[in-house]
């Protein structure tokens, strides 16, 4: 009998509590250096946008006539008054970039929030109702058959260029992604045993859709939403560059670039800086989004 006792003792390994899902997620995310840097930069940009009034040295609209096209600080003639120089109308570029972050992030977040919400509604409707499915899928296919920017251009051409209409146009363009994603993952979940169990125990309708199924589809959605912010920012900046976005004098990065085109030869920094701002924002959000995806997807986690 002694052996039996001994074997029970050795067989039962100290039950290490499995790490909580948040902790597991965080440790997986933290390991990805790019993702952490991306998230940090994105947060910094967001903070600058929120506190633009405090951070920005000047008003984004004030025209310093005495200092038109002042060079940035790394130029010999640069001064600390205008750290990144001024544009063709003598507006401080740094301040415009900081306020521009506000515009761009607002567009990005607004587009994602609206298309995320609509996407969940339409996607779940399609997954749970076959009539809605046909209608929603057809319309989404239709939207997707027109190239992104062309569709956005069409929408702005109809609605007229403005900040709000930029958001509407970009939302229309990006909506199908969310709808399809929600629909596909909800449909995949519907076949699973826990949904069947919930149905058997009498859960139905909206409760089944939103309480039982939806939380299990959120992972890929959150990733898509994160990456969607940067896509929306890029798309809105492209519209701005074409003169179809936020109208002057709004400090929007895309339109700042468009305004600066004439200085491409004489004062390259006026062209370089807004684009760099767009690029850095998009890269940092994408890095964070990629890290999020890897951390949320257990298959991608190295064991």
């Amino acid at each position: 009998m002694a052996a039996d006792v001994a074997s029970t003792r050795t067989l039962v390994s100290p039950a290490a509590a499995p790490p909580s899902s948040v902790a597991a997620f965080w440790s997986a995310f933290r390991e990805n250096r790019g993702a952490v840097i991306g998230a940090a930069v994105a947060i910094l940009i967001a903070l600058a946008a929120v506190f633009a009034g405090v951070v920005a040295p000047h008003s984004p609209l004030e025209q310093f006539r005495q200092a038109v096209k002042a060079p940035p600080i790394w130029d010999q003639r640069g001064t600390w008054t205008y750290v990144l120089g001024t544009d063709g109308l003598g507006r401080d570029i740094l301040s415009r970039l900081i306020y521009g972050a506000r515009v761009s992030l607002f567009i990005g977040l607004a587009v994602v929030v609206v298309s995320f919400g609509l996407g969940i509604l339409l996607g779940l409707a399609a997954a749970f109702n076959s009539v809605a499915d046909v209608a929603v899928t057809r319309v989404m296919d239709l939207i997707m058959s027109v190239p992104d920017l062309v569709l956005a251009i069409l929408a702005v051409a109809i609605l007229g260029p403005s900040l709000t209409n930029t958001i509407i146009a970009v939302t229309i363009v990006f909506l199908p992604r969310y709808v399809r994603l929600v629909r596909a993952s909800a449909m995949a979940e519907l076949d699973k045993d826990y949904v069947v169990a919930a149905r058997v125990s009498g859960v139905s309708g909206l409760r089944l859709a939103f309480v039982t199924v939806l939380p299990n589809c959120l992972g890929p959605l959150i990733v898509q939403a994160t990456l969607g912010v940067s896509d929306a920012i890029l798309e809105a900046a492209a519209l701005g560059f074409l003169g179809l976005g936020a109208q002057p004098p709004t400090p929007e990065w895309g339109s700042m670039l468009a305004d600066a085109r004439e200085f491409i030869r004489s004062d390259p920094w006026i062209v370089t800086l807004p684009g760099l701002a767009i690029l850095i924002t998009a890269v940092s959000i994408n890095l964070a989004g990629d890290g999020l995806r890897d951390a949320l997807d257990p298959k991608m986690r190295r064991s």
Binding site: A3, D4, S7, S13
Partner: protein, 346 residues
């Protein structure tokens, strides 16, 4: 001279949690025409050892051995190019999952022809003729038509036949079969085993059969080595092994066969094969062993003599009863209070 001669082969993998030794000092020799079975549970490192022989391990693996020779050539010192000339031609391997082992993008004919092109000087027409001949040899009906088939158009049994045809296409001296029947239906399993036996008859190929199925071993193998957690715990001829097991693990393994069980309930081996983090320090089987005692936790056992099946145990069994400890020196020879026999351990 044995066809394949392995002494003290170890394979370890670099993992994030440090080195993991998947194969720990195993020996194996295969004579021409001989069928040797390697038996063990999943995770016992039996496939890894053979992949090391074939040179198919990923770059994270480190292979060490005192000797690893095939057909008189030292595989440890051979450069990659020279090794590729042997692999596939003289030494071939078939795998557990026939369906996923064939490339879905290429026809059966292409995949067999490619092997012939790599290792023989045959021309296009000759390769095609040989491929048809091979498919016929492994019992595939309408071989000409099957040449144009893609793997997804074949059943599991057919795919394994194609894999075998491919493996024997260059008349290898050694064929390594890694659980060739595990993924197949029971009726097909017997057919594939028969096919392998016939091939041995017709082509003089030596065969290493990796399996966890003692029934298969009894049926086809001439010699058996038993692996547990990366170590070789017993090696013997099939006849002697089935007559008398010397390692408690082998004993328990056989006792767990339904057809050999006498008790009302099927005896199972308690616990699971230790993984990377819970390997016992001394004897790897100690936590699950019905006969273990103090020594098993402190001193690594060594191999017993061939008369005891080279059992890796301090107290090799004879007729199901432990012999006095082989370790005499620092530890008092305390033969353990005999635990309940595996048969009624449940």
């Amino acid at each position: 001279m044995p066809l394949l001669d392995i002494r003290n082969l170890s394979v370890s993998f670099a993992t994030r949690a440090g080195r993991f030794t998947a194969v720990d000092g195993i020996d194996l020799s295969v004579e021409p025409r001989e069928i040797v079975a390697i038996v063990g549970e999943s995770g016992s490192g039996k496939s890894v050892a053979m992949l090391a022989v074939m040179g198919l391990l990923p770059w994270t693996a480190t292979v060490t051995a005192d000797r690893m020779a095939f057909d008189g050539k030292d595989l440890l010192t051979l450069n990659a190019r020279a090794r590729r000339r042997i692999v596939g031609r003289d030494m071939a391997m078939i795998f557990q999952e026939p369906m996923s082992s064939l490339n879905p993008c290429f026809t059966v004919g292409f995949q067999i022809g490619e092997m012939l092109a790599a290792h023989s000087g045959l021309g296009r027409a000759a390769r095609k003729a040989r491929a048809i001949e091979l498919l016929a040899q492994v019992g595939i009906p309408e071989p000409e038509r099957r040449l144009k088939a893609y793997p997804h158009q074949l059943s599991g049994g057919m795919s394994q036949r194609v894999m075998i045809a491919m493996a024997i296409s260059c008349r290898p001296k050694l064929l390594i079969a890694d659980e060739p029947t595990t993924a197949l239906d029971v009726t097909i399993q017997a057919q594939i085993l028969d096919l392998l036996m016939t091939l041995r008859q017709d082509t003089d190929v030596g065969l290493v059969l990796i399996t966890h199925d003692m029934g298969v071993v009894a049926e086809v193998a001439e010699r058996v080595t038993v692996q547990y957690a990366g170590r070789q715990v017993e090696a013997n001829t099939t006849a002697e092994l089935f007559a008398d097991r010397h390692h408690p693990y082998t004993e328990a393994l056989l006792a767990a066969l339904p057809e050999r069980a006498h008790a009302r309930r099927l005896p199972a081996i308690p616990g699971v094969v230790p993984g990377q983090f819970d390997r016992p320090p001394a004897c790897v089987f100690e936590p699950r062993c019905a006969f273990h005692f103090d020594l098993c936790r402190s001193v690594k056992p060594t191999h017993a003599g061939p008369e005891l099946g080279r059992a890796l145990c301090h107290i090799p069994l004879v007729q199901g009863k432990p012999t006095p400890s082989r370790v005499t020196a620092p530890v008092r020879a305390s033969v353990p209070a005999r635990a309940s026999a595996p048969g009624d351990a449940a």
